[in-house]
């Protein structure tokens, strides 16, 4: 969840008073007002709108949404032609390492603490979101005063890369940065294993940065004295990199900067970036009205889409939409239709319940499970609800089961001690007894739920009484059988689960099919769980019972 913070004073000066109506408008724009006080405003930006991750970006779109200054539609920015030496050469050695970069130069900047903070904040948030933690896109911003154009982007052997990274007082090579620099260690996984690491360097051979890890302390740090910057976005997705670059340069332009294009030399091919040419997409008027349940005419649609910062031309049954080059979320006409809905105002839609008739229906198994629960409740039993995940020790060791002889599913890299899928409910019922030894007895508990036989999922039922003995447990089982009108019986078990007492255990059968066990828990197991009272329990598979009812 990305939150942007900005000064309330600035907001009220440049956008408007933060009264109730304004708060409502912020919410209706699709940006949740998280919190505010006299000084600060915090709003949440959804992941589909990285272009709003700076105050400037938010202000740009929100002012158009408000229709202020009589100006709606696509905001235009002027990009000056590249000057002499405004060139970046991209070496073929970057293939499979970090193949692309897009670049720009912005001049006439007047930075202060606030602005620098806004830029760094936006950079970090773009890294986290669209940049996929710098994997897909990494952004570098450098003071042009300290750089000699043109610039070279290439891949070099790590031990031949030498520069002083940010926050270090000595030179390091590529490997050392990944091993010793705090930021280097954090992002090391993005380069480790590659034969060469990418670097930007200037015409005098000074290293600017080793993306996506770290900038040079000398050439890669902007401050209040910086008036012109070189910007690059490196990564694996040229299109998204271009959009991220557009988000940054428009923000800097909104701060008063002048944007210059750069020539990117990919072998024989030269590409000029940034490119603010709007992308075009058509929307069908009919589809718009059908999806939204509205009857908008062409003019209304045009007005609405322009309030969301697009330009629009009429093309008969369709509208031709010009999409700002910094919008990264427009994939299908529904994305534009949603923006029309936002401009229309979610609170202006008239909710309607269509007159269609369908028959509601519960899952049959759930109905049977509820019936079983109600029968047991009649006997004074409390229903439990345990996790589907369990601890290995609880499932095996405490039940005297050898985990090496059992098949079970272990989850990869679970963040808790609950690392496996439960194989039965009985061990969980004992766990609950053990956690409630000081609570008034008798304790009568049951649970029905999913257990796992490797990847197979079964519904089980377990019922336990403490203090309890075999007779009581069998009485419950028989009552349940009678109430469900099915023939559940017990027989001598061919094999006894380890947690029961031999001679006080039976196999439970439904029409000759074994469905579970009933018996008294062995005192040594009770001891493992620190349970001081005798426990009688049965656990059955519900599968066969479901089948009987669903026939």
């Amino acid at each position: 969840m990305a939150i942007i913070k900005f000064s309330r004073k600035q907001f009220e000066k440049e956008i408007g008073k933060l009264d109730e109506s304004m708060q409502h408008k912020i919410a209706m724009f699709g940006t949740t007002l998280e919190s505010f006080d006299n000084k600060k405003i915090e709003i949440e930006i959804f992941p589909n709108r990285p272009d709003l991750l700076s105050y400037q970006g938010f202000k740009r779109s929100f002012l158009i949404f408000l229709g202020k200054k009589g100006k709606t539609g696509l905001k235009q920015y002027k990009i000056k032609k590249p000057g002499k030496n405004y060139t970046v050469t991209i070496a073929p050695s970057l293939k499979n390492i970090r193949p692309f970069t897009v670049c720009a130069i912005v001049k006439n900047l007047k930075f202060d603490d606030e602005k620098i903070k806004e830029i760094i904040d936006m950079q970090e948030k773009l890294h986290m979101t669209v940049g996929r933690n710098r994997k897909k896109v990494a952004i570098g911003i450098y003071p042009l005063e300290k750089i000699n154009l043109p610039i070279k982007f290439e891949a070099k052997e790590p031990n031949k890369i030498k520069f002083r990274p940010l926050e270090m007082n000595r030179e390091m090579n590529g490997f050392q940065i990944l091993q010793r620099h705090p930021t280097g260690k954090h992002y090391a996984h993005l380069l480790s294993g590659k034969p060469k690491f990418p670097i930007f360097s200037d015409s005098k051979g000074k290293v600017l940065s080793m993306p996506p890890i770290i900038n040079s302390d000398e050439t890669g740090k902007i401050n209040e004295k910086t008036t012109k910057v070189f910007i690059e976005c490196s990564g694996f997705d040229f299109e998204i990199q271009s959009k991220v670059l557009n988000m940054i340069i428009t923000t800097l332009a909104d701060m008063g900067g002048t944007v210059y294009a750069m020539r990117l030399k990919y072998g024989n091919k030269t590409i000029i970036t940034p490119n603010l040419k709007p992308e075009k997409m058509k929307i069908k008027k009919e589809n718009t009205n059908k999806l939204l349940g509205l009857k908008l005419n062409e003019k209304q649609m045009k007005n609405l889409i322009e309030k969301m910062g697009y330009d629009c031309n009429n093309k008969g049954k369709e509208l031709q939409i010009f999409i700002p080059a910094w919008r990264a979320d427009i994939m299908h006409e529904v994305d534009l239709i949603e923006d029309i809905a936002i401009a229309y105002g979610f609170d202006n839609f008239e909710p309607e319940i269509p007159n269609i008739s369908t028959i509601g229906e519960e899952d049959k198994k759930e109905i049977i499970k509820r019936k079983i629960a109600n029968i047991l409740i009649g006997l004074g039993f409390l229903e439990l609800s345990n996790y589907h995940l369990t601890k290995k020790d609880d499932q095996f060791k405490k039940m005297k089961t050898n985990e090496n002889k059992e098949k079970f599913i272990e989850l990869k890299e679970s963040k808790t001690e609950y690392t496996i899928l439960r194989k039965n409910l009985s061990h969980y019922l004992l766990k609950i007894f053990s956690e409630n030894v000081d609570i008034e007895y008798p304790q009568k508990i049951f649970e029905s739920g999913i257990v796992f036989d490797e990847l197979k999922e079964n519904q089980n039922l377990a019922v336990a009484v403490s203090p309890g003995n075999f007779t009581e447990s069998k009485q419950i089982l028989e009552y349940l059988s009678k109430m469900l009108d099915i023939k559940i019986n017990v027989r001598k078990p061919s094999q006894i689960p380890k947690h029961f007492i031999e001679g006080r255990t039976a196999e439970i059968i439904l029409e000759n099919k074994a469905i579970g066990y009933i018996g008294e828990i062995h005192p040594s197991i009770l001891k493992n769980w620190h349970i001081k009272m005798p426990v009688a329990i049965f656990e059955i598979s519900l599968q066969e019972i479901f089948e009987k009812f669903l026939d």
Partner: protein
């Protein structure tokens, strides 16, 4: 006036009739102030006596004070010395027998006292000036008669245990002396009960025995059959006094809430979908247009299982691959190379939306319009605290209808919120990866006077519905924040309580009234 005293007698009579068995058992003996003796006389144990005394106090028949008092008891050594005599007695006996001066070493040897005991005895005797110590030699300083008399310490030991406040001044001095020595004395803090009959109590006790013989206690089958109640009175109960608690069986509160939600959905014409907790990445992510490099598909966020599964039939796999790579229905798609291998990975489902996807995939045109809901557990690889857990209860519903639109979605949501007990709902734009438009519904909490986030909703993207259904179709989808609602209804502040199974809590928690 003759009326007044008569009423009083009536009152006394009524009180006497209301005495319980244990009260009646002790009331004749309340002249006796010692509770131990009372135990013997009434043949009741101490707990019952205390209960009975409390009952009598509540009826105003006795004055009762339950305080604490200090009791002096013998310690381990004290018990021994009571039997064998104090070390100084041994010491004196030896001196007396030999009747002459002895060296310290000699006495020590003959008395067989330990170092500690010897030092203590020596000190005690010196203090009392019974002996004289000169040049490491000890001689007696008293007559035989005086020697034979017991010391205060010896006397005190013989009388223990006794309450501290009953000790005479010279006994207190002896106690101080003994307290300095090891394990002779123990002082214990005990409950002290004192009581005395009130005037009313005296009156009641006079008639209680007479009355009690005629009172009916338990109603027995014989009593009913033989009409033994005729001409007799029933003992009156103290109807105000508290009774011990009992607890009934109950469904777990989460399941009560699930059933409640189930009823809302079925009332609105929705059919239940169920399915596995273990799902392929294909159904959990790919079918819902979640790009394969999306962070939610990392082990950081999702539980993966180290096994693979087969993908469903080729047709749908190809369609979904196409939706991701180049898009369908005019969409640009995610533009990357979609990997089958990635889709085969097994996960614990992260949402019930995978069931919606499977349901849509099975539908035919002739089944429409159709409405489905699911309710169940989903998983996230999370550390656990009051606000986070690795298992989450969620519920969601979908409407598949060729003519469905955004206004219908709002209509359903309004109805759904009403069924959940909220009259006022408002809608805000939101973002969810597989719906467009997306929105959140806030409902007005009349009690807390504030808007609360309740529902996430949207219309499935064509990139989701086209590959599943064969053509793009509007599917309205929404889900309430089920876990949060549940916690609000049952006043639970910590998410871990949902699976804690604290038996006392389960016994006491309120029953959901629908």
């Amino acid at each position: 006036m003759p009326k007044e005293p008569k009423k009083e007698i009536d009152e006394i009579q009524k009180i006497a009739e209301s005495l319980s068995e244990i009260e009646r058992k002790i009331i004749p003996y309340l002249e006796e102030r010692d509770i131990k003796k009372l135990e013997k006389l009434s043949e009741l144990d101490r707990v019952s006596i205390v209960r009975a005394l409390n009952f009598l106090k509540n009826k105003g028949l006795i004055k009762l004070e339950i305080g604490r008092q200090k009791i002096i008891e013998l310690g381990v050594n004290g018990v021994l010395y009571k039997k064998k005599g104090l070390p100084e007695r041994k010491f004196l006996n030896i001196l007396e027998e030999i009747r002459k001066t002895l060296s310290i070493e000699e006495i020590k040897k003959q008395s067989k006292l330990s170092n500690n005991e010897f030092t203590a005895a020596l000190g005690a005797l010196k203090n009392k000036a019974l002996i004289e110590l000169k040049d490491k030699k000890i001689s007696l300083k008293t007559s035989k008669e005086e020697l034979m008399e017991k010391t205060f310490e010896e006397k005190l030991i013989e009388t223990l245990p006794r309450p501290l406040d009953k000790l005479a001044p010279e006994e207190l001095q002896a106690l101080e002396n003994l307290k300095k020595r090891k394990n002779i004395i123990e002082i214990k803090d005990q409950q002290k009960i004192s009581y005395s009959l009130t005037e009313l109590g005296i009156e009641v006790s006079k008639i209680s025995e007479k009355i009690s013989e005629k009172l009916i206690e338990q109603i027995t089958p014989n009593l009913i059959k033989n009409q033994e109640y005729k001409g007799k009175k029933f003992r009156r109960y103290d109807i105000i006094s508290p009774v011990s608690k009992i607890y009934g069986g109950k469904r777990h509160f989460t399941n009560q809430a699930i059933d409640h939600a189930r009823k809302i959905w079925t009332d609105m014409g929705f059919k239940e979908m169920t399915g596995s907790l273990i799902q392929s990445s294909f159904w959990n992510f790919d079918a819902l247009f979640t790009a394969q490099d999306h962070p939610v598909r990392e082990m950081q966020d999702t539980f993966f299982i180290d096994k693979q599964t087969e993908l469903p039939d080729k047709k749908i796999v190809t369609a979904i691959k196409k939706a991701h790579e180049n898009g369908v229905d005019g969409s640009k798609g995610w533009r990357y190379k979609w990997q089958e291998q990635e889709a085969k990975k097994l996960v614990l489902r992260t949402h019930t939306t995978c069931l919606s996807a499977q349901t849509i995939a099975k539908l035919n045109q002739k089944d429409l319009p159709a409405k489905f809901f699911a309710i169940g557990t989903n998983f996230r690889n999370e550390t656990v605290d009051w606000n986070h857990g690795f298992e989450l209860l969620q519920s969601e519903g979908i409407v598949i209808d060729e003519n469905a639109n955004f206004r219908h979605l709002l209509g359903y949501l309004k109805q759904f919120a009403k069924k959940m007990g909220f009259e006022k709902i408002r809608f805000r734009p939101a973002y969810f990866p597989y719906t467009e438009p997306s929105l959140e519904g806030d409902v007005w909490d009349e009690e807390k006077k504030q808007w609360i986030e309740l529902i996430a909703a949207g219309i499935f993207r064509p990139e989701v519905t086209e590959p599943l259904f064969g053509k793009p179709i509007p599917v309205l989808a929404w889900g309430p924040g089920f876990g949060r609602m549940l916690m609000a209804v049952f006043n639970i502040k910590d998410i871990r309580e949902l699976n804690k199974n604290d038996i006392e809590q389960l016994r006491k928690i309120k029953f959901l009234v629908e």
